[in-house]
Amino acid sequence: MIEFIDIHKSFGPKHVLRGVSLTVEQGQVLYLVGSSGAGKSVLVKHLVGLLRPDSGRIVLDGRDITWLSEAEFYPVRKKCAMVFQNSTLFDSMTVLDNVALPYRKHHRLDRAEASRRALEKLALVDMEHAARRFPGDLGDGLRKRVAIARALTLDPEFVIFDEPTTGLDPVAAANVDQLIRSLRNDTGVTAIVVSHDLRSIFTVADRIAMIYEGHIRLDGTPEDFRRSADPVVSQFIHGRPDGPMKI
C-alpha cells in the first residue's frame, strides 16, 4: 500500500502540489488524471525518489520513505518500477540489452542467462521479434512495449506508467491499454497510470483520482466520475471546451 500524505511541491514560483493526499491499494489499476501541467507526473516521481517534496510524507507498506538517501531508495525502486513518458530506452543498446541490463546489474547474471530472461519478458509484451533491433528503429508504440518489459524485469509490486498512451496512434494506444489490463490480471501488479486520455481512463481504470489546482478533486470509481455533479470533473470527463476549469 502506498500513502501520499499532504504533499507540497513548488518549482520556483509555481506551487504545483498544494497538499495532495492519496492512498493506493494493492491490486488496483489507479488512474491519475488532470489537465496538462496539473502535477500528475510530479506526484508519481516522488514515489521513486526522482523528486523530493517540500513538505509532506510518502509511506510505502508502512515505512516512511520520504527522506531516504539515494542509495536507500534503490530497494524501493526495485519494488516500484516506472515506465517513462518517452519510454527512455538507452538508445546506444539493442532492445535485448536494454531489457537484460537490470538482470545483469541486480541479479549478477552472465550475459547469456540475462538475455534468456530478457527474452521471456519481451515475449510477455510480444516484442521478442525485435530483440536485436535498436530503439531508434522502432515506432513509439513498440518502444513503449519494450519500456514496459524493462520495467517488469525486477518483478515489481507497483508499476508507474507516465502517460503511456500520449503520442501514440489509436491502435497502438489501445494495445498498451490492453497490456496494462492483462498485466494486472496475470501478474497481480498494482498499476498507477498517469493519463489524460479519456478513452483509456474509462476502459481500464479500477479507480480514478483527479488532480486539479494542486489538490485531489475527486477520488473514486469510473462510475463515481460519470455521476459526479462537480462542474470541473464533468467538464474534464466530457472534454468540453468551456466551463469552470482554469487552464
Binding site: 518517452n86 527512455t88 530506452l89
Partner: protein, 263 residues
C-alpha cells in the same frame, strides 16, 4: 563612471563564483568516482565499450594533430637555430617542446575537443531525454554505470595517445625537416634520441594522466548538469570545452613547476 568601476569587478566576481561552483561540483564528483573505485564497483562491460569508443573516436585526430605539431615545432626551432648557428640544438629544441610542453598541450586540447565534448553531449542528451532518470528508476547507480567507465577509459586512452602522439610528432618533425628545412631526418631523429629526453617524455605522460582525470571529471560534470533541451546540451558542451581548456593550461603550469626538467 560607476559602470567603469563596477563593471570589471562584477565580471571578475561572477567568473570567480562560477569557477568556485564548478570546482566544488567537480571535486565532489571526483570523490564519488573514487569511492566507487575502492572497492571497484563499476560496470566492466561498459568500461571495455568506452575504452574502445574513446580510442576509435580520438586516435585519428590525435595522430594527425601530432604530425602537424612536430612539423610546426621544427619550423619554429629551425628559425632560431639558423639565426644563432647552434645547429646541434635543433634535435633538443624539437624534442623538448614536443615531449614536455606543446605536444601535451595541443594533444590534450584535441582530446578534450573530441572526447570531452562528445562525452558532455552524450551524457547531456541522456539527461534531457530522461535516460539517466530511467537508470535511477531501475535502481542502477549512474556514477558506477556511466561515469566511472568513462573516467577509466579517458585516463587510459589519454596516456596511450600521448605515448603514440609523441611518436607521430617525431615523424612529422622528420618529414618537415627533410622537405622544408633541409636537415636529414635520420640526423634529426638521432639528435632527438641523443638528447636524453626521458624526463621530458615522462613529464608529458604525467601531464596526460592529469589531463585524463580533469577532462573526464569536468566533461561528466557538465554533461550530468544539463538543463533544458537541445539548447541546454549545446551550451553545456560549450562550457565543458572552455573549462577543460583552462584546466589544461593550469595543469600544464603546475606540473611544469613541480617537476622541472631539461638540461
Amino acid at each position: 563612471m560607476r559602470n567603469v568601476l563596477v563593471g570589471p569587478v562584477s565580471v571578475v566576481g561572477r567568473a570567480s563564483m562560477g569557477l568556485m561552483a564548478t570546482l566544488g561540483g567537480a571535486t565532489m564528483l571526483l570523490g564519488r568516482i573514487l569511492r566507487a573505485l575502492l572497492p571497484p564497483r563499476f560496470d566492466r562491460d561498459e568500461a571495455w565499450r568506452q575504452l574502445y569508443a574513446v580510442g576509435v573516436k580520438s586516435s585519428a585526430i590525435v595522430m594527425v594533430t601530432a604530425l602537424f605539431v612536430g612539423a610546426i615545432m621544427v619550423i619554429q626551432t629551425a628559425f632560431y637555430v639558423q639565426r644563432t648557428g647552434a645547429t646541434s640544438l635543433l634535435g633538443f629544441g624539437v624534442g623538448f617542446t614536443v615531449f614536455a610542453e606543446i605536444g601535451p598541450i595541443l594533444i590534450g586540447l584535441m582530446f578534450s575537443g573530441r572526447v570531452g565534448a562528445n562525452n558532455t553531449a552524450e551524457l547531456g542528451t541522456m539527461v534531457v531525454t530522461e535516460q539517466v532518470d530511467a537508470l535511477r528508476a531501475l535502481a542502477i547507480d549512474p556514477i558506477g554505470y556511466l561515469v566511472v567507465p568513462r573516467f577509466i577509459a579517458m585516463i587510459v586512452m589519454m596516456l596511450m595517445l600521448m605515448a603514440l602522439g609523441d611518436v607521430f610528432a617525431i615523424i612529422g618533425a622528420a618529414l618537415t625537416a627533410d622537405t622544408l628545412v633541409g636537415v636529414d631526418p635520420s640526423v634529426l631523429i638521432g639528435d632527438i634520441l641523443d638528447s636524453h629526453l626521458l624526463d621530458e617524455y615522462l613529464l608529458g605522460l604525467g601531464k596526460a594522466f592529469c589531463f585524463g582525470v580533469s577532462i573526464s571529471v569536468l566533461s561528466c560534470w557538465y554533461g550530468l548538469g544539463v538543463r533544458g533541451g537541445a539548447t541546454g546540451v549545446g551550451r553545456a558542451v560549450n562550457n565543458s570545452v572552455v573549462a577543460n581548456a583552462a584546466a589544461i593550461f593550469f595543469i600544464d603550469f603546475v606540473m611544469g613547476w613541480i617537476f622541472p626538467v631539461g638540461l
